[in-house]
Symmetry: C2
Subunit: 337 residues, 2 copies
Amino acid sequence: MDQKITRDPAMTDVARLAGVSHQTVSRVLNDHPNVREQTRLRVRAAIKELGYRPNRAARALVTGKTQLIGVVAQNSTLYGPASLLSAFEEAAGEAGFAVSVGRVKVLDRDSIAAAVERHRDQRVAGIVVIAPNSSAADALADVPADLPLVTVDGDPERPTPLVTVDQGAGAFEATAHLLQAGHATVWHVSGPPDWFDAAGRVAGWRQALETYHAEVPPVVAADWSAAAGYKAGQMLARMPEVTAVFASNDHLALGVLRAMHERGRRVPHDVSVVGFDDVPEAAYFIPPLTTVRPDFAAVARETLGLLLEQVSEGESIRPRRTIAPVLVQRESVAPPA
Amino acid sequence: MDQKITRDPAMTDVARLAGVSHQTVSRVLNDHPNVREQTRLRVRAAIKELGYRPNRAARALVTGKTQLIGVVAQNSTLYGPASLLSAFEEAAGEAGFAVSVGRVKVLDRDSIAAAVERHRDQRVAGIVVIAPNSSAADALADVPADLPLVTVDGDPERPTPLVTVDQGAGAFEATAHLLQAGHATVWHVSGPPDWFDAAGRVAGWRQALETYHAEVPPVVAADWSAAAGYKAGQMLARMPEVTAVFASNDHLALGVLRAMHERGRRVPHDVSVVGFDDVPEAAYFIPPLTTVRPDFAAVARETLGLLLEQVSEGESIRPRRTIAPVLVQRESVAPPA
DNA sequence: ACCGATGATGTTAGCGATAACACCCGTCAG
DNA sequence: CTGACGGGTGTTATCGCTAACATCATCGGT
């Protein structure tokens, strides 16, 4: 005959074993001050002996709060968002929060609203939305204000709590680096125009050109793919006056490299190229790519901090945080021939 | 003066508005049969009017079950695991389950055990572990058997429920493709030896060589990075007898391409290269990479299905599932010179 | 020696849902 | 005509926890 499957031990079981009331067990668990040291030890021993594990559902029911953070992100494997998400999950885990991820196929209003609703259903303590483009940012207007919410990579123009990489500063540095190498100007292959990251990089690029009194060539608009970078590169490769290209991310840069290669324009001898993101394999492109590296771990930390401030205090004194990226120099930049 | 912040509507509020008992509301919510159609409509209307949202914590407390699935994954942005995770989150979301991700810095026993514990604390309905190497697989021995658990990319030798890409078949196909192009043999740059994916690919490669009665050269062991591929490639590029290389993933292949390029060995004219994963930018390597594409969405679907079978039925009739990948032909393979 | 403050603990009342059972009322077979 | 049956509904207990209050020593100040 099977042994009767007993239910998981509850607080009362611990209390009985320790010879105290369940409330005292609760106090020990929540680090209340007024518990005698000896009692505390007895309770802890009982907890250990029974393998007791507090029931979060019960706690959530009575307190009305959970230790859950919802994240809304697009279902993509783009390096930036994926790194960010991963870093955030780790940071939150270390802070004792569980992270529930709601993936969304497209970042439109309906999908985001639905994902946020699902998270509200779960009574999350707060929500992080990775909202890197304007449709996503628009959708946030629908989110009720009673729920702590932090936007990552969102619209810098909006007054919502936001953490983002300083795209402008990174792009400025990349462009300035090329100009300082002696190039007359720098062409730019941009990401999708409705992405804030892309827009910010365009702005930084333009500002650098203006600062150095260089001519501002037209932006070559693309998306984030190597395919688009290749196409843009094919065009740029045919133009002899193009000697320096700043691509809005490393995969675009990869496409540009390939197009230049096919056209017989050597990098960096004939054309210099700089990317953005510092994907792990960027150091092994042909040639190794000079690029801009954002600190995703820092973004994740700031995001978590900002969210928790809102959770505990209702709002934050410093609701906008910007993380400056650094330029990583490799071998894709040289003075013009 | 502030309006009093009223709490979220509960079932009793809906009941009062609809003029029924809270239990009837519960019945409507759970689609119980014995509710008059008219009552059902009245209740639904009340739910809508109040914006009522069932409290999952309360439900979990009384039923002892949650709609939460825990995932344990490494904190990395490797393309395979990241794609898998993303696909799984989407699949689970569509099935009405929330996914709580526990990231782990390294896949060792302690970290995994801790992550699993955190998920148990949350009373997840089941756990998915992305356990692509042996240390991770070992750690699973510690996981109590009372919790539904599915391993993804885990040890094919273990009798646990498992879903994995058919590494052997993919590697076989890649190798056979090179041999059929006329190469006398195929060299292999492998991933980390303790990863099952890598081991499976080595096995498939070897099997193909044996099937075609080709000589089996020594395995060039690396990790998953472009850096390691570059190093391996530098060695292989110096060996004139090397005309075909199967790299265990696309980033390794990228490193090999670069090494070949630097050494003046043209791909595919002098050396053919095949990768594995079909990362989005593989089509824009120089030259576009022939590679093996796993279907991560299928893996995710099978994983979810397997887990839910265990949750509802205790076990599964078909606890091991394998997804066959396909060869994607591009321009990095040609007959030997 | 008395008394209020303080510390350590116990008791009771919910949180918001589901489960189990009770109840009412038609319908239908005997 | 009556009693068994079952659909539709309400009532009550319960899940495991925390909040709020109650209780009872102990202790220092007058």
